[in-house]
């Protein structure tokens, strides 16, 4: 009975509405924060920071965005990568065209641009539902990428369509080392994750969920469907947009419109499904899983047993195992890793007794 909450009483509603009502969780959370902010930057190698931790954080943010839309507001979208692209290219253009604009401001504006585009492509959701909507969001995916390629102004007339991000400068400090980039990303992601948590535990989030669970009933109790759905589209796209900006500025450094393709959208969708639909924690778990799994498989199949396999077979096998593992995870727990975590905690609460 390691994980017991007996003896922890809530004396006020404020206490009861905390993000982590259980003490063990709170302690765990702060310990984790201390580690990721204070220990990791110094302990982790450049490879880990640059090739794993930063992308995991950025994808978590994108997954968080999609989770707000799909997990909380129930609107299935396959266009998240396109909104990331909007964020990345908008931020780039703000940095480029407004002299001396601080990076954070440009990033926020980039996010807002993505939010605007999100609202535009969210409009059909008022009439279209489910998979019909999902396919309709593909329109956003293809149209936005097409537009970014087609109008060279967006990429500042670069012949290859690739933009290369300016150096991030905040209060005169240039974020160039992997450590600095990691900390910057981590800080932004943490703030936005907290904001997301706050949204979903207040009326805003409850309205989203109400629309998701039963829109007729939601409307009858006075929720404006249009406003709520569009709000979800806006917030979600904002998150994706910021993730896109970070993708360009703290991760890859250079991006091209085609990098934000349908595959990336699917990847983000995977993250929330594997991680847990409608769960903040799930966005992080899913992102870590989807980023790490292929790398892990790659290392195992190419470095460890690679020599024994015919050329090319390793890569195919990697793909097969990846697909199979996703199916396996869905079967084991259709509600994602966040639910597994929760069940684990419930079991711990009872442990060592079975019930």
């Amino acid at each position: 009975m390691l994980y017991r909450e007996a003896g922890q009483f809530k004396a006020s509603y404020q206490e009861d509405a905390q993000i982590f009502p259980i003490r063990q969780d709170r302690i765990g959370f702060f310990a984790l924060m201390a580690v990721v902010f204070l220990v990791v930057p110094f302990a982790a190698s450049e490879y880990w920071l640059q090739a794993i931790l930063i992308p995991v954080l950025i994808f978590s943010l994108a997954a968080l965005g999609l989770n707000i839309l799909t997990g909380y507001a129930g609107q299935l979208s396959l266009g998240s990568a396109a909104f990331m692209a909007v964020g990345a290219f908008a931020t780039y253009n703000f940095m480029l065209r407004i002299d001396g604009i601080p990076f954070l401001v440009a990033m926020l504006l980039g996010g807002l641009c993505a939010a605007g585009v999100g609202i535009l492509f969210g409009l059909p959701s008022l009439r279209i539902k489910g998979f019909y909507l999902a396919v309709a969001t593909l329109a956003a995916q293809f149209f936005i990428v097409w537009a970014l390629v087609k109008f060279p102004w967006f990429s500042n007339y670069s012949s290859s369509g690739v933009i290369s991000a300016q150096t991030v400068n905040i209060f005169g400090y240039a974020f160039v080392t992997p450590q600095a980039k990691y900390l910057l990303t981590l800080a932004i992601v943490t703030v936005l994750a907290l904001a997301a948590k706050n949204m979903v535990r207040s009326t805003t989030g409850r309205k989203w969920m109400a629309v998701r669970d039963m829109d007729v009933a939601a409307e009858v109790i006075g929720i404006r469907l249009m406003r709520t759905k569009l709000q979800a589209f806006a917030v979600s796209s904002f998150y994706c947009g910021v993730a896109g900006a970070l993708y360009a500025y703290t991760y890859l450094g250079t991006v091209e419109p085609e990098g934000f393709n349908l595959d990336l959208s699917f990847k983000i969708l995977f993250m929330i499904i594997i991680g847990g639909v409608g769960s903040i924690l799930g966005s992080f778990l899913g992102s870590a899983f989807i980023v790490l799994l292929p790398i892990f498989l790659n290392v195992v199949l190419h470095s460890a047993v690679g020599a024994a396999l015919p050329a090319g077979f390793g890569s195919s096998l990697e793909l097969m195992i990846f697909g199979a593992l996703i199916i396996f995870f869905l079967i084991v727990e259709p509600h994602g890793m966040a639910r597994l975590w929760q069940i684990g905690k419930e079991k711990l609460r009872l442990w060592p007794f079975p019930h």
Partner: protein, 416 residues
């Protein structure tokens, strides 16, 4: 004593056909060096593949993972993907690892003064476009005959396809022909409307700036709408067996630019058969692809890598593994003349190369091959583009980049 080379390969997905051929040829060549010569001056080559699926993010991960492997770190990085090239462009300079992009990547990186760590060798897209125009000119009886002609540019609607626009416009202005640009949306497995448009426009030639399934589809649809295949000239990503075989008879007569030719009769390929495949060490599963365009392109990659290391060893000490920085010097001083090519068994297989501090392209020429329904036949000698025009554009673009990034170009007259 081992020299490590990291290979960010891709063998699944839409790009797999090219990837498996090129990496196969490349690995086989390195295997040949190990088997036949016992390495470069006794230094064996080792390599590790890292699957990128042609995806930028995974390419970056591979880059980071591979860069510290081996005794002296990764000797060079050859991403075989323009996207990944851009993503690691700044990192290679920081990590001091040369990046080699043969026939793709960032065109203006040919200006070695601004991009000391990047080597877009043999030829760039712009040189190629210019060479294609020269080739068409030669078929018409001289570039002056191009005046008033109409060239259709059927391009893959992506950044890659659009690289052709600026240079073609410049060439059109210079030679007095007109360009009709027609976009094909990715993936391009349906081109009915594009070819009907072409039929309406009646261009004299069509330049096929395609990729993947777009190429055979273009040839088939051209056949269907009655456009002569002899009048279609493809780029080197549209000039492999993979692009013509699926089109069947429709591909007969189609010509494409290449910087390496197809064929298994070159001594270097024969030696691979003899030293590698005979010992069952070959990388290609489908052995019939040995000698194909992509395979041979891989062999070219191998030759260039090995020659650079050899030259660098001459300077930094034979018989020991080199760091990336040392290998970079090798690339910058890479000279492969006809004599050397003959010694390598690759005469006519690839062009001569002469890389310098300021010119990282080194050749800028292509050959043209025509498909006869069963195989590619070389139909031209090495044809150069308009070097002056191209170089001008490269320098202009590189200077803009240098300005944006605050880079002071090197003064090449002072380099050793």
């Amino acid at each position: 004593q081992e020299q490590f080379i990291g290979l960010p390969s891709y063998r699944v997905g839409p790009y797999a056909a090219g990837g498996s051929g090129i990496y196969g040829g490349w690995i086989d060549y390195m295997q040949l060096i190990n088997q036949r010569d016992g390495g470069i001056n006794g230094v064996k080559l080792t390599w590790e593949e890292c699957e990128t699926e042609y995806n930028n993010a995974r390419g970056v991960e591979c880059y980071e993972r591979l860069k510290t492997k081996g005794a002296a770190g990764n000797a060079m990085f050859q991403p075989l993907s323009t996207g990944i090239t851009y993503s690691v462009l700044e990192k290679v300079a920081q990590d001091r690892i040369p990046m080699v992009t043969i026939g793709y990547g960032r065109t203006d990186a040919a200006d070695g003064r601004v991009f000391p760590w990047v080597f877009p060798m043999i030829t760039t897209y712009w040189s190629q476009a210019s060479a294609i125009v020269n080739y068409i000119g030669s078929k018409e009886g001289g570039t002056d005959k191009l005046k008033g002609k109409k060239i259709g540019l059927l391009y893959h609607d992506s950044a890659y396809g659009k690289e052709s626009h600026a240079i073609m416009d410049k060439l059109a202005a210079k030679h007095g022909f007109s360009v009709e640009k027609i976009a094909v949306a990715h993936p391009g497995n349906e081109q009915q409307s594009q070819w009907l448009q072409i039929r309406q426009m009646r261009p004299d030639y069509v330049v096929l700036w395609g990729w993947g399934v777009m190429n055979p589809t273009a040839l088939r649809t051209a056949a269907r709408t009655g456009f002569p295949r002899e009048k279609i000239v493809g780029v080197w990503w549209a000039g492999a067996e993979e692009d013509t075989v699926p089109a069947g008879d429709a591909a007969k007569g189609y010509t494409a630019a290449v910087f390496n030719v197809a064929g298994a009769n070159y001594p270097v390929v024969k030696e691979i058969q003899q030293h590698v495949y005979a010992k069952n060490l070959g990388n290609m599963e489908d052995k019939s692809r040995v000698g194909s365009v992509y395979y041979n392109r891989g062999v070219v990659h191998g030759i260039i890598a090995v020659e650079a290391i050899r030259i660098a060893q001459d300077k930094f000490g034979k018989g020991k593994p080199l760091s990336g920085e040392q290998v970079r010097w090798g690339f910058e001083n890479l000279k492969i003349d006809t004599k050397r090519l003959a010694a390598l068994g690759a005469e006519g297989f690839m062009p001569e190369l002469n890389v310098t501090c300021s010119d990282h392209e080194g050749a800028g020429v292509v050959k043209f091959q025509q498909w006869d329904g069963a195989k590619w036949n070389v139909v031209s000698d090495w044809i150069a583009g308009d070097r002056e025009l191209v170089r001008g554009m490269i320098e202009e673009s590189a200077a803009a980049y240098a300005k944006e990034k605050g880079i002071t170009p090197r003064d090449c007259s002072k380099e050793g």
